[in-house]
């Protein structure tokens, strides 16, 4: 006897609804929305970030809300303008990493045999190469620029996703509904895209989010080390110039704290949002939410054994 199935609605409205219902997801979504707005409209509202506008290393004041850099540039303008490139590349890398990783992983898991042997060998080799040192070496030799850094991050980051997706594909491959579509003559492409991938939606979304956190962090890290284009204005180069101008030594906290805080908040927002997505793509969790609320109202813990909430017989 199965429980009454909770209605599963799809589409943009359902996603919004689920985000609104989950407090953590709401916080995450609002944070990301804020940064998206800053990235889109912010550069129009602040002045030229590279212009030398004031005396260097001034603490925050009414004229320059976040103070000035060691070069005499406005920190607020630099932070705001840096948001666009950093987030754009960060999210793009996050998406591409998962795309490449899942394509390789699904192919390895689904086709098995020699294909699996070859692809597995490939991503296992990539997994044992330490990512950051390779990224540093590559970024140092290739022409500098945001696209180079993005390419390096995809190159060093896709293997873990491939491995996770391969494992999940292997598990789904043996399920009856996949066997049924093989028997009914569906093409491999259709089985992969209609039967297997939708069953890992929550995994893929979590991976996009996780990979984006990784990509933004690594991007900022590489640029901080001076491996990006130091003449561009991004969060990473902001930090690069801050240390270059001995901000830590002189105690000029306003030159690196704003950017650092932005990186942390974006990562925080992404992780918070993830908890909401989990519930959207997993109908079972939606049902359990009402159940938990019911138990909470009765002052009962959610027990392993079926709970008894007496009162209204």
């Amino acid at each position: 006897m199965s429980a009454p199935s909770g209605g599963r609605s799809t589409g943009a409205r359902a996603w919004l609804e689920a985000i609104r219902r989950d407090r953590r997801a709401t916080v995450g979504a609002l944070l990301l929305l804020f940064f998206a707005l800053v990235a889109a409209a912010g550069p129009l509202l602040v002045g030229d970030p590279t212009a030398l506008v004031a005396v260097p290393l001034q603490p925050p004041s009414a004229a320059h809300w976040l103070g000035t850099t060691g070069q005499g540039q406005d920190v607020l303008a630099q932070t705001v303008v840096g948001t666009r490139v950093s987030l754009l590349i960060g999210f793009a890398v996050g998406l591409v990493v998962v795309l490449v990783g899942s394509l390789v992983g699904v192919a390895a898991g689904y086709f098995g045999g020699r294909v699996d042997g070859l692809l597995s060998l490939l991503f296992n080799v990539f997994l044992v190469i330490p990512g950051l040192p390779l990224a540093i070496v590559m970024a140092a030799y290739l022409p500098s620029g945001p696209l180079t850094v993005a390419g390096v991050l995809v190159f060093t980051g896709w293997a873990w996703n491939a491995r996770v997706v391969r494992g999940q594909t292997l598990a789904l491959r043996r399920r009856d509904f996949v066997a049924a579509s093989v028997v009914s003559g569906e093409s491999s492409l259709r089985i992969i895209t209609r039967e297997i991938l939708p069953n890992m939606t929550s995994l893929l979304v979590a991976q996009v989010i996780g990979s984006s956190v990784y990509a933004i962090g690594a991007l900022v890290g590489l640029e901080f080390l001076g491996l990006g284009d130091v003449s561009a204005v991004t969060w990473g180069t902001n930090l690069y110039w801050a240390t270059n101008d001995s901000a830590l030594l002189t105690g000029a906290w306003w030159t690196y704290v704003p950017t650092g805080l932005c990186v942390a908040l974006v990562g925080f927002g992404l992780v918070m949002l993830n908890s909401g997505f989990d519930e959207i793509t997993n109908p079972r969790l939606q049902m359990e939410r009402a159940w938990r609320a019911h138990l909470q109202a009765a002052g009962q813990p959610a027990s392993r054994s079926t709970p008894v909430v007496a009162g209204h017989a």
């Binding site: 006897m1 009454p4 009402a290 054994s305 079926t306 008894v308 007496a310 209204h312």
Partner: protein, 321 residues
């Protein structure tokens, strides 16, 4: 009359959904005497498996037991703590699921798995004693003891289901709940296994709650039969009495829908319509929209159980006259 071993009193189960609770079991009361076989019949979704799982408190979320009592050997199972429940499950009440054959671990031999159950509950002093008992249990369910070293994939579905029954018997429970134990098997194997269980039941004296769709099978196999409809118990009677003189129109309809091997030429008929949604059950008697004998009061008031004999009760307004 002996003290019942299991006494379910006004048991209610709700499934909690975002749209509000859905009552899957509504004030059901049922007794089981020691050594008695009670069948539970009804359509899919009528609450029979829900009751079985509620007794053991193994209903997964979003289920909540929202009222009633389950007295087993004098203790209310709804008031037990988690460790007490864990001891009670399997040691006193065991269950065989429809998918028991899939509940075996593929990397362990069946002997090891039976022995595991014994050791986990401290029922065997040594591993050699556990092995010996496991072999005895296999033999009890009709599998040769040299199969102790077999892996699950080396056994047929019927044999694996027998292993599931052997594991249920391992700790000498006082009650075994069979939740459609043979639905996944073919009729020949089904009959063999049910006869095996019946023999064991007579020899060992445990009580059985037997859940199935197959009314004919149930009438052969049970002392008493309880019929569920839309989350409610509608009729309970000794098997013979139910077959010959069922009083609830739903039970009568069910009986007319099954062919009898020994009966004469009886026109088979099905009950028109389908069971109501539990989200919004009909007012009055839940069966009235499908009942050809419905009268005005059926649409208004819910009937209570009417005692029609020492062991026979049914919930129908026609019986109160």
């Amino acid at each position: 009359m002996p003290e019942p071993i299991l006494s379910v009193r006004d048991l209610c189960v709700d499934y909690i959904s975002a749209a509000g609770p859905v009552r899957a079991l509504d004030r059901v009361s049922l007794d089981l005497d020691p050594g008695e076989v009670v069948g539970v019949a009804g359509e899919s979704g009528c609450g029979k498996s829900t009751m079985a799982q509620a007794i053991l408190r193994i209903l997964p979320p979003p289920a909540v037991i929202s009222g009633g009592q389950v007295l087993f050997e004098g203790r209310d199972l709804l008031a037990l703590s988690e460790p007490e429940l864990r001891r009670l499950r399997w040691e006193r009440i065991a269950m065989v699921f429809q998918s028991a054959m899939d509940a075996l671990n593929p990397v362990l031999t069946v002997g090891e798995q039976i022995a595991d159950t014994l050791r986990a509950h401290g029922a065997a002093p040594s591993s050699s004693a556990a092995r010996a008992r496991a072999a005895d249990l296999l033999e009890m369910v009709g599998i040769h003891r040299n199969r102790l070293g077999s892996f699950p994939h080396q056994l047929s579905g019927g044999m694996r289901q027998r292993v599931g029954i052997a594991i249920a018997l391992a700790l000498d429970p006082a009650l075994i709940i069979l939740d459609e134990p043979t639905t996944a098997l073919d009729v020949i194997v089904e009959r063999e296994i049910l006869e095996e269980i019946q023999g064991l039941q007579r020899k060992l004296g445990f009580a059985v709650m037997f859940i199935t769709h197959d009314l004919t099978r149930m009438l052969q196999f049970s002392n008493r039969v309880a019929v569920f409809y839309a989350a409610k118990l509608v009729e309970v009677a000794p098997a013979g009495e139910l077959r010959s003189s069922a009083r609830h129109p739903y039970t009568q309809g069910l009986l007319r829908a099954f062919p009898s091997v020994h009966g004469g030429d009886v026109e088979l008929s099905s009950i028109p319509g389908s069971p109501p949604s539990l989200r919004d059950p009909p007012r009055g008697c839940r069966f009235h929209p499908r009942c050809d004998k419905a009268i005005d009061v059926c649409r208004e008031r819910e009937p209570g159980l009417v005692q029609l004999g020492p062991r026979h009760a049914a919930a129908c307004h026609l019986l109160t006259g």
